[in-house]
Symmetry: C2
Subunit: 162 residues, 2 copies
DNA sequence: ACCTGAACACCGTTCAAGT
DNA sequence: ACCTGAACACCGTTCAAGT
């Protein structure tokens, strides 16, 4: 708050005329950023493809704002209107893919955890566990997409013989 | 640090005779906790099953220590001897499952991100995105296992026709 | 080797007062 | 409505000094 106030050439406590607390400010910031995620209305033709697009767009937006990603983890995601909008689109896409009820919520959770988690762990330099070289952006994005597709295959083919 | 010092009935700066900084202390704590993860030496008979067991054990350990999970995210995992041990076991298991080279590192990353991410998002109460009821522990564990299996199927069947 | 008091340079936030 | 100075109750950390 003090750093922000300095950048605005204002006393620190002046911020509290515009925002209730640091937490409230951060929450607004996080939800606003989700507005950049492209989530077109559910396409019944290929819901799995739609889901891949939405999650990939989310990953790209998060990856482009590395400073904010840790805050999503601290704040346990977001609950503003933008988050609601994305959740709605994903739920609809999953339903069109034949995943409803409890499985729908479970799949939503898995996809979000994977996407935000991946963004979090690829946004900062450094290894996750053990000695690893930091891979470049293109390789990370490819890793993300590969894992995402495995999840989507599992989610949409749930219970089917292989 | 001050809270810890109080619990030890000691002045805050006394801690700095035993630890270089708060970060160093946290890093040690995190790596020590990973010592509780059961990671038996790689079993060539069924490496995919071994991977599922290691990741499930990791999830259980993290879930049992909710206060520490956010710190793994802040500290970007861990780099101590215990982290090295787990990384080694996972790499070996993946190699025995026929996943080597670049794919090995990618798979390692995907599995760790998924596991730590899932622990992080299920350790705190509250929705991730949108309006969700907080599910109970058993349901969360089942969700975790389901997603983990999808990932393992994708990782080990990579490139094979379905 | 391990502790202490005192201090430094920070935080987020509140309160009363100004325009 | 929006800002201010002053203050409160915190942080992690350092330094010099004690045993």
């Amino acid at each position: 708050m003090r750093a922000l106030a300095t950048r605005l050439h204002v006393a620190p406590n002046a911020l509290y005329s515009h925002v209730a607390s640091k937490t409230a400010l951060v929450d607004q910031l996080l939800d606003d950023l989700l507005g950049e995620v492209e989530a077109p209305p559910a396409d019944a033709d290929n819901p799995a493809h739609g889901l891949e697009n939405v999650m990939a767009s989310t990953y790209r937006v998060l990856f482009a704002h590395p400073e904010l990603v840790p805050l999503y983890l601290t704040r346990q995601g977001s609950r503003g209107p933008q988050a609601e909008r994305l959740g709605g689109v994903m739920t609809a896409l999953l339903a069109e893919a034949g995943v409803g009820g409890r499985a729908n919520r479970a799949a939503l959770r898995v996809l979000l955890v994977y996407t935000i988690g991946f963004a979090a762990f690829t946004t900062q330099a450094g290894p996750v566990i053990g000695p690893q070289q930091p891979p470049d952006k293109a390789e990370l994005a490819a890793n993300f997409t590969a894992g995402l597709r495995w999840l989507l295959v599992g989610i949409t083919h749930q219970g089917q013989a292989c």
